[in-house]
């Protein structure tokens, strides 16, 4: 057990790949597996900002939604002919939005920051809601085609839930590797220094606000990529993508799984979605149960499922980021 946990913590990206390669066969149905993967990526972006930099954003729906609309608009309205360009448009728009909104929100710290991010996300929601000519408004943005992949003369059709799952899997795996690279870099160390003590990081000569802003933009990138993938998965962008409920979901997923841990966001997304899926069979009011569980976690298990598990497990010799 100790050997396994040491192995996993030394090769996090590989462990991620092995687990999610077989993941669809562990799930009740494959569409749910894709959803867990995509929301896990969204939570991963949120976790970079909250878990590692210590900034609680209550408006991450903004970047997820911008990503979804970016990809959706590129493919449905601009008729971009390549799935890669369409998918790239999402995170690109999210990064622009993140850079602008981050600038405003980082003018205030602490609890204000949470409220400001929420306010700006609501602003985008209302804009998307009223700009029905572009976004489809309340009906959502419809008619997003799922183009086949064209790579080095190959052509792969993505229709079918397993094909789409492995397409998302490759992209999310790459994103996880990028995140690992960010966290292991000196920049990643500064992020965690800011989380632990911002004043001290500042005294060490780091431009804390710039680093936070950069972290915000990276976080928006991952959230936007998740949004773009979800637009492809659903072939529609509901306006609720930008709604505060979506922001709340990613907060709950990350905290359930374990903020500030590498696998926590995926554990949380999986728990939330599978639990929601099972509970929905019994009651339409399933968010009530999730809300109670979430409250219990905030009160009694603030480290989340994965964070608590990692603390209990014997730790190997590995240095660096916790698994």
């Amino acid at each position: 057990m100790a050997a396994l946990s040491a192995l996993v913590s030394r090769h996090q990206v590989i462990a991620f790949g092995i687990f999610f390669a077989v993941f669809p066969f562990l799930m009740p149905y494959q569409a749910l597996a894709s959803q867990v993967l995509i929301f896990g990526l969204f939570a991963l972006g949120f976790n970079l900002l909250y878990g590692y930099t210590g900034l609680l954003s209550f408006g991450h729906a903004a970047y997820y939604g911008l990503g979804a609309y970016g990809t959706g608009l590129a493919l449905a309205k601009l008729k971009v002919g390549s799935i890669w360009l369409g998918l790239a448009a999402g995170p690109a728009l999210a990064v622009l939005g993140g850079a602008a909104i981050g600038f405003f929100c980082l003018r205030r710290r602490g609890i204000y920051f949470a409220m400001l991010t929420l306010a700006f996300a609501q602003l985008l929601y209302f804009i998307a809601f009223h700009l029905a000519d572009v976004t489809g408004g309340d009906d959502g943005l419809r008619g997003i085609p799922l183009l086949p992949i064209q790579l080095f003369g190959w052509k792969i059709d993505l229709e079918g839930s397993l094909a789409f799952y492995y397409f998302s899997f490759v992209i999310v795996w790459l994103a996880v590797a990028v995140l690992k690279r960010i966290l292991d870099s000196p920049f990643g160390a500064v992020l965690q220094a800011i989380r632990e003590n911002g004043d001290r990081a500042s005294a060490c000569g780091y431009d804390v606000n710039r680093v936070k802003h950069l972290s915000f933009v990276f976080s928006a990138f991952f959230a936007g990529l998740a949004g773009g993938l979800d637009a492809l998965r659903l072939a529609v962008v509901p306006v609720e993508s930008l709604y505060w409920v979506t922001s709340g979901q990613v907060v709950m997923m990350t905290l359930l799984g374990g903020a500030g841990t590498f696998f926590g966001p995926f554990v949380g997304a999986g728990t939330y979605l599978v639990l929601g899926d099972r509970l929905a069979v019994f009651t339409e009011r399933w968010p009530l149960v999730i809300g109670l569980i979430f409250m219990a976690f905030v009160l009694f298990l603030p480290k989340g499922i994965w964070g608590t598990l990692v603390d209990r497990l014997p730790r190997g010799q590995s240095a660096g980021v916790k698994p």
Binding site: I111, A114, M115, L116, F294, L299
Partner: protein
């Protein structure tokens, strides 16, 4: 479009009524935040419960006046329980934690309301005494809405007197400034925190009770209100009660006048004003920089 003064005046009054609801919510939030650095996300859910309580009490007692007094008290009592059994456990932890906990609570309360009263809202008539309109000389205005303005002003004056003229009010103000010193003087701040949390929640309940006859009662009614109240306290300066009052009235006017000129922009303008204030004065109109940061 007729944008004469006579046409815009009713909008200014309507905005003032909305502003009063913002003020009641924001003052409660700000009072709690100023003393305890806790942001109560469930404030909107308590506002919603205030409206439902009023409907319930109205059918039960047949008297709007009883309902208007008792509903805020019930919500206030609920606030006391919240502080004692939930929020108190989180003192000493990150200020984000109460926000997260009350976010979860808000979800639970909204879903519970849907479970009990259904997804479709209930309507509620203003009491007969306040059913008509009043001729103000320059225009006519629904009597109930004038009543809302009057009640809010009366509550604000009472709150101001409580905070500045009583010993407990003095301790609250001192606790806002320097809790450590107040404790060193041998004062049990836990009881003060409990009381203030209860008062803040009761104000949210009152806002809901007052809003009921104008807007009805439905499970989601508090959601946008609490987010807009957050905007109000950010604009006013967090922890500043005067800021909450001024910014609440200002935001009511922003919504009222934009609704008249360009209805679609009404919800958006609130956030635009917030962004402008942040650019010019990051700490808000009456905010002190550095409070709870």
């Amino acid at each position: 479009m007729d944008i004469s003064f006579a046409a815009i005046l009713p909008q200014i009054f309507t905005g003032l009524v909305l502003g009063m609801l913002f003020v009641l919510l924001a003052v409660g939030l700000s009072l709690i935040f100023g003393l305890m650095t806790v942001v109560n996300f469930s404030h909107g859910a308590l506002y919603m419960l205030g409206a439902y309580c009023t409907v319930f009490l109205l059918t039960f007692t047949k008297s709007f006046w009883v309902a208007l007094v008792v509903a805020p008290l019930i919500i206030g009592a609920f606030g006391l329980l919240m502080e004692r059994f939930l929020i108190r456990r989180l003192y000493g932890r990150s200020p984000d934690d109460p926000l997260l906990l009350t976010f979860g609570l808000s979800l639970v309360l909204v879903e519970t309301a849907k479970l009990i009263w259904g997804k479709i809202g209930l309507t509620l008539d203003p009491p007969k005494e306040l059913g008509g309109v009043v001729n103000l000389g320059f225009m006519v205005f629904p009597a109930y809405r004038l009543f809302v303005i009057a009640v809010t002003l009366a509550v604000l004056i009472a709150l101001w007197a409580f905070l500045t003229r009583t010993n407990v009010g003095l301790i609250i103000r001192a606790g806002t400034r320097d809790p450590l010193m107040v404790r060193a003087l041998g004062i049990d701040l836990n009881r003060i925190w409990l009381l203030v949390f209860g008062i803040g929640c009761a104000l949210a309940g009152l806002a809901g009770a007052l809003a009921g006859p104008m807007r009805g009662a439905y499970a989601e009614m508090g959601v946008t209100m609490v987010i807009e109240s957050f905007v109000v306290i950010v604009v006013g300066g967090m922890g500043s009660l005067l800021g909450a009052v001024v910014a609440g009235i200002l935001m009511g006017q922003v919504v009222g006048i934009t609704t008249f000129l360009a209805p679609k922009l009404a919800e958006i303008m609130v956030f635009v004003v917030m962004a402008l204030v942040l650019l010019v004065r990051p700490s808000g109109i009456f905010g002190e920089a550095g409070l709870a940061e």
